[in-house]
Symmetry: none
């Protein structure tokens, strides 16, 4: 039966998760309230199969705690857990050698699946994590655009000239210029490059 060390400074969160993993799945779970205690518990013994670190916890200091834990225990699987971190933090953690990133929005069943997955030697990062809310903002900025302006913007996003866009949309070049001008004003940018960049950044095309 795998040994898991769960480090989180919120007593309630830590203890309930630990209890769930122990009773429902039969995992052997140790707990710690901060990074120092967790490191102390692991000192010497290699018995821990998976270390779960809360991202916001005394001693972590961003990803430094993760890096230190990884350095001191190269063979132990380490997962970062957080309720607030965004996707950038998650991917950074993965590139720093974490075996998994566990958002606290996970269901209990998914948490168990993720843990099993990591214990099997895989690396876990939920693919759709942190992609929900940006949509809202995106819609707002671009919802002012008319159908034609949107089509024009789409062509801008592959770097086409007004002439090429005119050919593709089967309209005159002047008309394209009009659409471009209006679209720039609506997006609040000053040239086509900025418009393309903005659209690309919000993953519209």
């Amino acid at each position: 039966m795998p040994n898991i060390l769960l480090a989180d400074d919120h007593d309630l969160v830590r203890d309930t998760i630990a209890a769930y993993l122990e009773t429902v799945e039969g995992f052997n779970v140790l707990t710690a309230a901060n990074l120092a205690d967790a490191m102390e518990l692991m000192r010497g013994l290699d018995a821990i199969d998976l270390l779960i670190l809360d991202y916001n916890m005394p001693g972590m200091n961003g990803l430094e705690g993760l890096i230190r834990a990884r350095r001191d225990h190269p063979k132990c699987k380490i997962a970062l857990m957080s309720g607030v971190a965004n996707r950038d933090v998650a991917t950074s953690a993965m590139s720093q050698g974490a075996n998994g990133f566990i958002p606290k929005s996970l269901t209990a069943a998914s948490l168990v699946n993720a843990i099993k997955f990591i214990l099997a030697g895989e690396r876990y990062l939920p693919f759709d994590f942190g992609t929900a809310e940006p949509e809202a903002k995106t819609e707002g900025v671009f919802s002012d655009l008319s159908a034609r302006e949107l089509q024009t913007l789409e062509q801008l996003c592959i770097g086409l000239s007004n002439k090429e866009i005119a050919r593709n949309l089967d309209i005159k070049e002047v008309t394209v210029k009009l659409h471009v001008k209006n679209l720039l004003a609506k997006l609040g940018v000053s040239n086509r490059t900025q418009a393309a960049l903005m659209a690309k950044e919000r993953h519209l095309f």
Copy 2:
């Protein structure tokens, strides 16, 4: 024991994977050589737990095959498998309702872990897939650029005009034009927007 239907038009690939899953893991594996055969096999019976579709296979037509399979079998777990598809295809597949994306670069052990993960009700997309090799190409294209050209490109990537770039780099506008012209030629693109888009796509700035 879960029933898996593996559809791939490469006989060797299909049969070896099927044999591995059957003998090593004890899965019950059915096979098909194209989408039509797979759909035929699934007609009526709801016994299939996981359908694995090759992305390049007769009848697939991009993600259309996936969408059709999802529509006809809303409750069946479906994974897309590919040896060539890029990350965009993978994420598109996920947003179209796929339960997983399986690159053929996976090891056999990881394939099994992924399948188990999906069968447990999770959605699987390897987080680091499609981020390794683009680096190499990237370096190649941009390594021809001189220091100044690179700085110029960086400013292009925030949509600045030649005049603004000249001010920022403390050089004359004509010089900026020279850098831009040379940089466009080296990158093989025809205007500044395309250059900015290309640089952004390779995550240079």
